[in-house]
Every structure is written in structure tokens, then in C-alpha cells.
Symmetry: C2
Subunit: 387 residues, 2 copies
């Protein structure tokens, strides 16, 4: 993760949406007579960012929670004031599939405008069979209508629906939701919020094991608020990723390493919640883990779709170096989504998904924080957004 | 600071670059037959942000310092590696006036694109008579060429030039720089970096007193790294502002209150330096101080021109409420620059400087952090940037 293969005065030959050649501009030009030339004029060209943890589909926002938190109210006070995840679940259930699609499309444009071309997106604001299916279908529709590539994850186990017993809800997920989702191929991954008051290790294991039997790969919301053992469970189940990890200790890190689990770090939520308890990125990198950075885009704890913002947080708050941060937000993230052979780097044979930034050094993306530097974004060789 | 006067379905009548009427859209329309209508389509319209603390004019960047800091190096290590303020002073001295203007113009566009229409800008990367004058002249030229309004501040006392004794340099500032600057009316304010190893309280008093005699108003970099008594000095000298204040205690707050000094808080530099020692915004607001928020835009410790980013930092890290943050970034900031009668709010008689944001609630600006939401920006009634 410590270095990037940067080509100065570099170029690419693109054909049929794929990268055919990468190298020095002069050499590429010689080998590509007749091709249309797009001059980036010395700007930085990066692989489209791959955002491996988002909650894309929901209705409304949580501005009132945001204001309450700014005014110093606690999570409990906000929950009592009808805020928290439940307000989003209620709004999402009340919204039509069409409305959810319209909102998700606006947000998909945000991701593209920040230079992201592939995202993972989780369900989890429905919490009934019908509502979870609706959310996953919105993702399927959006995948057809937007240039943003969406890898869907079923997160029915985001919270226990009100008025339902946890085990009863787990039964519903295992007996009805998961089989339905697998049959319709609506999700590539299954995720669980493994946390005190949500799903404990035993319950998480049950849900994830059932999902794995149906062919879904696994991700886990692990050790965010307490060191419950989520990272170790991810290792035990050979999950693709363990996400959050703010409270993970050395044993959790060692377990992930031995099982090849990728840690997905989400500094946006630590920041937005006003905490300073960032995950131990340096220890994970030094342990040899293929760390991933993601936005955790969601209305409650991380309302950002900007990977440049996450790079800034990684460098300034978690002491990741710029090359480590970019690696974590591109190729490592792609591998965590089982898409490492298609996206995440600019190499022959991969999709021509890339962003052009209005700067001369890739580190400027994280350095000039909060400033939009996107010049143009390309997906499969076609320009999808930009000046 | 606790509330904003928000008009739903509001409108403005603008004539000759000034606001003539503000009120309900329907009523404004009746009173303005024949006027060209610009429909904001329900978007948020805010006064152009006023950024009361920036270091706009410099050459180059400090990407290497940024990377070293991300890799865990200390300020001392970075200084030894030829980083720190000296690397910027050397690059700035080596640059031509034309080159400095070109760079500053690019940055002025960043401010505008983030919704800022007035900034204060400090000299201080020259540290010789000629180089400081050049920087202030660049500001004067930019003021004519850009739509961004620039209020210039002389900060010769940013550091002591290498190879010079502090008292010798103070003599140079008082005997040569300040009289020259006052004569050419190149600065409206004088500022001093009052800090251990830079200019102590006694030395700062000397410089600022001389500046005041020449008709300049005062600002002070106070109590950033240590509680040296900068806030109290600002009170003693009736300075317009005391800026930074990360280490200011209750006595400093009380002194500012009794003297009517405005605190200028700069959370961008706390963030970018990876610290969590934010200034005591809540105590200052509760003491009745007219708090100001600013970017501290500079290449070393706060490389951002984005006031929405600063609003996010204020709400999430300093527990300022959204109305407090917006007040601090508009009207309070305008008053601190002696421009409260011209800019900082949308009122009849003021300049028609405003921004239109692509959201339905002004709080979204701070909530969706890192995402560019600017739709269009107007200065003196003319659209200067936007979709």
C-alpha cells in the first residue's frame, strides 16, 4: 500500500469501454493512430474511486438529528425525540419505489461528481420483506439508469423492527427474506450490524451462515461502538470484510490477518459524530492487512459521498500516507467487492473508469480539503460528468 | 446568534448591484414590474460568506509537509526537512508579481465557487519591505480583476526573517513597512503572530500600537499554541479581532467581552493539523461574544477555501448550532471587517452579494459535508459563477 505506480505524461488507449494500453503518452499515441485524442492537459488521472460501504437508498434526511447533536444532545435524547434510524425507516417505508429511485439517483450523481464510479450499497431501512425487496430493486433499477456501478448488499439485520422479537426477526430473514433475495439475485453480499442492542455474535453468525449457504458473500458491521468480537467473527466466517472497527484490538487485527478479511475503515462517521476515536489504521496496515476506506454514506452518521473528503480524514486524522489512502479507496476496495479484476486500477483489460482532477499532484485531492477539484469523470470510456 | 431570519418563498428586488427590497416572493413581484426574474426554484439563498481570516497570496503548496505529517513526522522534523513557513516564504519571494497574481486568482475562484464573496487576506510570506509590498499590491490588482472582494491586512509580523534579530525586524516594520503601507493605503488592518518564538506580548504591542497610530485597525493571531495572553492584548488595544484562541481561558474570554473584541475561530487548522484541541466556541457564545468563523486558508495548516466545510467543522467538532455557524460566517464576520453596513446579510441597502445552493434547507450545507452544493453565486447582482 505504500507506493503508487504513477506515470508522468501518461496516456491510455481505450477501446469498447476497456483499457487496451497504458503507458507514456508519446508511446500510446504512436500505437493508436486514428483514435480520438482527449488531452488531460497535465491534470491528474486516477482510477474511479470504489466506495465499498454505503447506505445509498433511503428517504429524507436527518437534519433535525444533526442540529440536535450540534446543540449537544446525546444519542439517547435524539432517539427519544423520534430521531435516529427509526425516523429514516419510517420515511423509507412511506416512500414509493419511484420516489426512492429519484432520491437515490440524485445521490448517485453526487458520488460520480466526487470521482467515484463503483459503490457497494446496503439495504436496511425497510426491515420488512416487502420494504427490503423494494430497496434492493431500486438499486437494480438505478444500476441500469445511472453510470454509477452499484454492488448490492442485503442488510436486513440493520436493526430489529419495532414490535418484533429479535429471534422472530432473524427467523423472518432466514426463512423468507434471504431465500427470496437469493432467488431474484438481488444482492451479492449479506451484512449484519453486530453490536450490543442490535445483533450479538451468536445471532450474527446465524444470519451470515444462512446467507453464505445461499451463495452470498459476507460483510460485517464490527466493533463500532464496543469490542464485541465482530472482527473475530468475520475471520471465523471468512467474510470478505469487517467494517468500522473503531474498537477492534490486536487480537481482532490478528484474526482478520490470518483469515484474509479486509478491514473497511469509515472515518466519515467518526468525524460526523464528533468523536475522535478513529480506528487503528496504522496497526492494521503494519499487520499487513489490505485496508479499505469508504464513506459509510448514510443520513444519520456519515452524510458524505465524497471520497476526497475521506482521503483527507485518512491522512489528517488516521495518519495514513497519501499513497496508502488512495490504494485503500481504489484497488483494495475493488478486491473487497470481488471486482478487483474489473475496476480499481488503470490496467489493460480493466474497465475504462477514471476521473480527471484539476490539479497537478494526486496528493492535492486530500490536501485542499472541502474544495471540489473534479474536472471530468469517465465510465467505460464515456464521459459521464464534468465541466 | 441563535436564530436566522429565514423567509420561505422569499425574494429580493435588486437594482444597480444593491438590494432594494427583501420579502415574500409574491409581494416583491408585485412591487417590481418589468424587472428581470431569476427563479431560484426553491433553492436556498444565503448572503455571500465573509471569510475574515485568510492568507491568500503565496507561491506553491506544502504537499511535502502534508505527506510528512500524514506519515507521523513532528513539526520539528518537518522544519528540519526544509518545510514549514520558510519554504513558502522562499517560493513567494522567488515568484514574480504576475505569477503570484495568477495563483491568487485561481484561489479566488475557489472561494467564489464555495459561496464566499468577501475575504480578508493577509500578507506575511514576504518579510522584506519589497516582498510585503508586492503581496499587498497583488491583492489590490486582484480586487480589480476578480469578483471576490478582498480586505487587505498587513502581517509582516508573521515570522522573523532568517538572519535578522527580532527587534531589528520590528524596527524595519515600524520605521519603513508600516509608513509605506499606510501612505499607499495598501492595508486596512495590521495583524501580528503573537506566539512564543515569534512575537511576544511586548513586541506585539509595539508593532500594533505603531500601526494604530497610522490609522490601521487591528487583528491578532492569539493563543494558538500557548496561552500567552494574546486575547488580553487584543482587549487592551481594542483590536477588532483576536484570532485562533485554541488556548484562551476564561480570563481571555472575559477581557474580549469587556473590550468588544470579536473572536475569529479557525477550526480548519485544528482539523488539518490532526489536533482535537478546538477553541471553546460554546463558552465564547455563552459569554455573549460575536463569534466569527473563518477558513484560515493557507498552504501549511489549513488548505481549504470552503466555508461550508468550516460550517461542518463548527457543528460537528465545536458544537455550534447551524444558525450560530451561519451567523458567524456572514454578518458577524462582516462586522469584524468593518463591512457590516455593506455585506453579510440580505437587507435593503446592502450589496447584492449572495449564493444559491442546490438544497432545500440551509442546514444541508454543513450536513452533507465535502459535497459541492453551490448552484450559482452573485456579486453586486451579477452572476459570477455557477452551473
Amino acid at each position: 500500500m505504500g507506493g503508487l505506480a504513477i506515470i508522468r505524461d501518461g496516456g491510455m488507449l481505450i477501446r469498447d469501454g476497456k483499457i487496451e494500453l497504458v503507458g507514456l503518452s508519446d508511446e500510446i499515441e504512436k500505437k493508436s493512430r486514428g483514435a480520438e485524442i482527449v488531452d488531460a492537459c497535465g491534470r491528474v488521472v486516477l482510477p474511479g474511486f470504489v466506495d465499498a460501504h454505503t447506505h445509498l437508498v433511503f428517504a429524507g434526511n436527518r437534519l433535525d438529528d444533526f442540529e440536535r447533536r450540534a446543540r449537544g444532545e446525546s444519542y439517547e435524547q435524539i432517539s427519544k425525540a423520534a430521531g435516529g434510524i427509526w425516523s429514516t425507516v419510517e420515511k423509507t417505508r412511506a416512500a414509493s419505489e419511484h420516489d426512492l429511485l429519484v432520491e437515490a439517483k440524485k445521490r448517485a450523481d453526487w458520488f460520480l461528481r466526487c470521482g467515484t464510479t463503483t459503490i457497494e450499497a446496503k439495504s436496511g431501512y425497510g426491515l420488512t420483506l416487502e420494504d427490503e425487496l423494494t430497496i434492493l430493486r431500486v438499486m437494480r433499477s438505478l444500476n441500469k439508469q445511472s453510470s454509477l456501478e452499484i454492488v448490492p448488499t442485503f442488510l436486513g439485520a440493520h436493526a430489529v423492527p419495532r414490535g418484533m422479537d429479535t429471534d422472530e426477526y432473524i427467523g423472518l430473514m432466514i426463512d423468507q427474506m434471504l431465500p427470496h433475495i437469493a432467488r431474484e439475485k438481488l444482492a451479492a453480499f449479506c451484512d449484519v450490524f453486530c453490536e450490543r442492542g442490535y445483533f450479538d455474535v451468536e445471532q450474527s453468525r446465524k444470519i451470515l451462515t444462512a446467507a453464505r449457504k445461499l451463495g452470498l458473500r459476507l460483510r460485517i458491521h464490527a466493533d463500532q461502538l464496543s469490542n464485541l468480537g465482530g472482527a473475530k467473527l468475520a475471520a471465523e466466517l471468512k467474510a470478505a470484510t469487517a467494517d468500522h472497527l473503531e474498537k477492534t484490538d490486536e487480537q481482532g487485527i490478528a484474526a482478520m490477518k490470518s483469515a484474509g478479511v479486509q478491514p473497511v475503515l469509515l472515518p466519515g462517521s467518526v468525524y460526523a459524530l464528533g468523536s475522535s476515536g478513529y480506528p487503528r489504521a496504522r496497526e492494521m496496515i503494519e499487520a499487513g492487512l489490505a485496508v479499505v476506506l469508504a464513506t459509510d454514506f448514510n443520513p444519520g452518521s456519515s452524510p458524505t459521498a465524497s471520497m476526497p473528503m475521506i482521503l483527507s480524514l485518512a491522512c489528517t486524522q488516521m495518519k495514513m500516507s497519501p499513497p496508502e489512502a488512495v490504494t485503500a479507496a481504489t484497488i483494495n476496495a475493488a478486491h473487497s467487492l470481488n471486482r478487483g479484476n474489473k475496476v480499481g486500477s488503470l490496467e489493460p483489460g480493466k474497465l475504462a473508469n477514471f476521473s480527471v482532477f484539476d490539479c497537478a499532484d494526486y496528493r492535492e485531492l486530500a490536501y485542499w480539503f472541502g474544495i471540489p477539484q473534479m474536472h471530468s469523470v469517465y465510465v467505460r470510456g464515456e464521459r459521464v460528468t464534468g465541466a
